[in-house]
Amino acid sequence: MTWAPVVGIEVHVELRTLSKMFCGCAVSFGGAPNTNVCPTCLALPGALPVPNRTALDSIVAIGLALNCDINEHSIFHRKNYFYTDLPKNYQISQFDLPIATDGWLEVDTGEGPRRIRIERAHMEEDTGKSTHVGEGGRIHTAEKTLVDFNRAGTPLVEIVSRPDIHSAVEARAYAQELRALVVELGVSDARMEEGSIRFDANVSIRPHGDSELGTKVEIKNMNSFRSLERAVDHEIGRQIGAMEAGKPIVQETRHWDEAGGLTTSMRGKEGSSDYRYFPDPDLVPLRIDEEWIERIRGTLPELPSTRRQRYLGQGLDSHSAGVLASSDADLRSLHDDAVASGADPTASANWITGEITAWMRRTETEPGDLDLDGARLAEMVGMVADGDLSASAAKDVLDGVLSGEGGPREVAEARDLIQVSDRAAVSEIVGSVLADNPEAVARYRDGEHKVVGFLVGQVMRASGGKADPQLANELLRAQLSG
């Protein structure tokens, strides 16, 4: 029997607003514990929440970018559970009436684009942070627990996909695409290592062709795209192994152990999952009207998926389009400017994702500091197309341009790299090379055609390396056969 994995992903994105979701405290990372707090985010008696409009703008933007419906009416609910780092012992979240529903995100793992459906995106608030001190740092054995509420109340958007993801690779691609999207929107730093974007995966398997979903296992604690992919991959394998050994899959939450490369069952904290949701009576129902939605739509930047479509339309192949679409904004505008200045889009993209990226890495230069504009890149691409520069000479020219020696033609001339592609001039050199190498000519005529390579080399040497080798080859063969 072959098995089909079914994966859904829940993403938590911390918004980079000025203030927290329901109070005026700043959203900031770091800082001495419990210094960025107020009566509301500490849940002091009598304190009340007031929603942050900017955070609501952000989730509307996310919803629109994910092709969701933005619901005119939505409600904040209380999600009740006791935990030391949850100040009110309930989280203000959303339940059956979230802000955004029914969207999709396009993902391409190299086998063509696929739409992963989005079930919902809702607004909630983050918790504080508990640190369990002593005896291994586990909650049940700790000597004491320290709690820092600086993060408590930070606006959080939860984005839930449908179980449309079919592999670990696709799970990673989805996560990367989603991260690129929120970064593009400017609503979050989305730093996995700081926890400002967090991914949980729901994994199940079913026999190929079955429509019924298998028992779902939630996996947590993946702190990089790589660990997300590894964790999903491992969990799929574990479940297949269990099924084939005749062991049932238990519905549970499992913890990804990065060092061990496996998932382990989480016991303890779970238990009851009855959150006793009910509408938060401290907050009035939210109304997001057409005007609000259109105002946000008007501020949306071009999104990675739209951009990829645009690049595909320029004739780029799927790989280059994908790489360029998710690359740095400065590099993308370099490409767009070069194309606007007449550069061939494929050549421009290849230079940017190839030589230019390699040069930046070598010299540790940031894209914003590149001494290259679209016009110069277009000029260089044009020189190669016209045969004025050989591919290898162009690399030298690029180095010169990036090193601040001037424009491409200027550098090519200064470094004496302009290719001789004048037919008559090259023909003349070919004639003299043939005259100087009668043995080689004789061997060619005896059928040893590979000797042409040697003769091309001689032409190049005679031209000081500037002859167009393609042209030299063509003219040599013509004269030898003549």
Binding site: P45, L48, V50, F82, Y90, I139, A142, R276, D282
Partner: protein
């Protein structure tokens, strides 16, 4: 007659004509408290130093020409579930013991701006859960008309203090009748304004969708002055009304042709005879002056109390979750943080609070949610619509405020349901969010006060005050409780 027995209007006028100082008013109130607190226990704390300083400042300001209006220099008591910066807020619970509020409730800010002198914090049923002020972990408050009886609750400390003259007026909070019912039992005016008109910021939440702060005072005009000072939009409370407020500066009504609907469901055997008689005599008086009195049947009132006792505990179960020993208040030791929270809560909350948290948790639980909490919300919607329809035919609805006059201490403590029934006439207005006021209209044969309730549609405060003032005029109730009369 002591200065402590003046109305706010009289006290304010007397200061401006030089008859007395604001410090004199505070001293009079303090003297009255000194004579009565041992018997009544209205206050959990009197802020001697702060209040005296405020009274002195008020005198100084007025002498210097700054007049902050009718509450300038007037001693006001505050129910101890509202935060005053620098004073403990206890909610009469052990779980908050030692917690000093670091900020003023919005109503406190407003009162300070109005120049009021905040005398101290008054006793209440723990977290405002109760109808007798017996559920205070600091001991019960007693009724100044008969100290063997309860003052009602949960704002019993505030109501008793206003009645006996240890304050000129007070703030209470009303979730199911917690201002109006003690007002009725103590013979003072108590009102709950339209939901959303008084900010709840700094009021320790019991049931957020029902809680409203309101005044307790010795007459309708004083209560109007106090409401005018504390209501208005507060951007710090998302449920605060941000539209037009009615003009209540000079409420007026012509009784001729006034359509008065008597709520059919709030009469009968469950209501004491003296209460029914007093209600009838008020209605006769209104009729005599030309009002059109009719009976209106509101079947929603038959199930409103049940709905109330599902909604309020449900919200309370979440609102009181924050009292866990982690950040403030009582903390009991536990081997784990979970155990610490569990033991702290089991120790810190009194039995009625625990009962309601359990009720609320249960009614929100999976499998019961729709049948209990969900059904209660549907009743609430239905009831509100029913009341709004009634206001198409009637200008005001009326009823007794409480089925009984003040009952003896301990009489209902063993039977929560009989205690809950105290709210039968008041809780519907909390569910609908409409305003309602209780006006004292007489005494029963035992000399205990009887309250008459006037209900108005949302934002109908102007009409509510006007009718209340007419009722007050008709009955001429100005009897001081025995305790105050002896001291005067």
């Amino acid at each position: 007659m002591s200065l402590a027995d003046l109305s706010i209007t009289e006290a304010a006028a007397g200061r401006r004509s030089g008859d007395h100082s604001f410090v004199d008013l505070f001293d009079a109130v303090l003297t009255r408290a000194n004579h009565t607190e041992a018997q009544l226990h209205c206050y959990l704390v009197i802020d001697h130093r702060g209040a005296r300083a405020a009274a002195e400042t008020a005198d100084g300001e007025l002498s210097a020409g700054t007049d902050r209006g009718p509450l300038h220099g007037i001693p006001i008591a505050i129910k101890d579930n509202m935060n005053i910066d620098g004073l403990e807020t206890t909610c009469a619970s052990q779980i908050l013991s030692g917690w000093v509020a670091p900020y003023d409730a919005h109503v406190i800010t407003r009162l300070k701006e109005a120049g009021a002198v905040l005398v101290g914090k008054t006793n209440l049923d723990e977290f405002a859960m109760g109808s007798s002020t017996e559920n205070s972990s600091y001991g019960a408050t007693r009724n100044p008309w008969d100290t063997t009886r309860v003052p009602g609750g949960s704002s019993g400390g505030s109501a008793a203090s206003v009645a006996v003259g240890s304050s000129f007026a007070a703030l209470g909070s009303d979730t199911g009748g917690s201002i109006r019912q003690p007002g009725s039992l103590c013979g003072v005016v108590g009102l709950k304004p339209t939901y959303g008109t008084v900010s709840r910021r700094g009021l320790v939440a019991f049931s957020s969708s029902l809680d409203q702060i309101g005044p307790l005072a010795r007459n309708v005009e004083d209560s109007r002055i106090l409401l005018e000072a504390i209501w208005g939009h507060d951007p710090g409370d998302a449920t605060s009304w941000n539209g037009d407020y009615p003009d209540i500066s000079a409420p007026r009504v012509d009784l001729r042709g006034l359509r008065v609907g008597v709520i059919d469901q709030l009469s009968g055997d469950a209501f004491e005879e003296a209460v029914s008689d007093a209600t009838r005599s008020v209605l006769d008086g209104l009729s005599d002056e030309g009002a059109e009195v009719g009976e209106v049947s509101l079947p929603g009132f038959d199930v409103a109390l049940a709905a109330y006792y599902l909604v309020a505990p449900a919200e309370a179960s979440a609102n009181l979750a924050r009292f866990d020993g982690v950040r403030y208040g009582l903390r009991e030791d536990g081997a784990t943080s979970e155990e610490m929270m569990r033991v702290t809560r089991a120790t810190g909350f009194g039995p009625e609070v625990l009962r309601r948290i359990l009720l609320g948790t249960f009614s929100l639980s999976a499998g019961y949610h729709d049948a209990f909490y969900g059904q209660a919300q549907r009743i609430r919607t239905h009831l509100t619509a029913e009341m709004n329809r009634a206001y198409e035919e009637y200008d005001v609805l009326v009823s007794p405020t409480s089925p009984t006059t003040a009952f003896e201490l301990g009489a209902r403590t063993a039977d929560p349901l009989s205690m809950y029934f105290s709210d039968v006439a008041t809780a519907p207005s909390n569910l609908s969010g409409h305003p309602a006021i209780s006006v004292p209209v007489g005494l029963d044969e035992g000399g205990l006060p009887i309250g008459f309730q006037i209900l108005a549609p949302a934002f109908g405060e102007e009409r509510m005050f006007a009718v209340a003032a007419e009722v007050e005029r008709l009955v001429g109730f100005d009897t001081r409780p025995v305790l105050a009369a002896e001291l005067a």
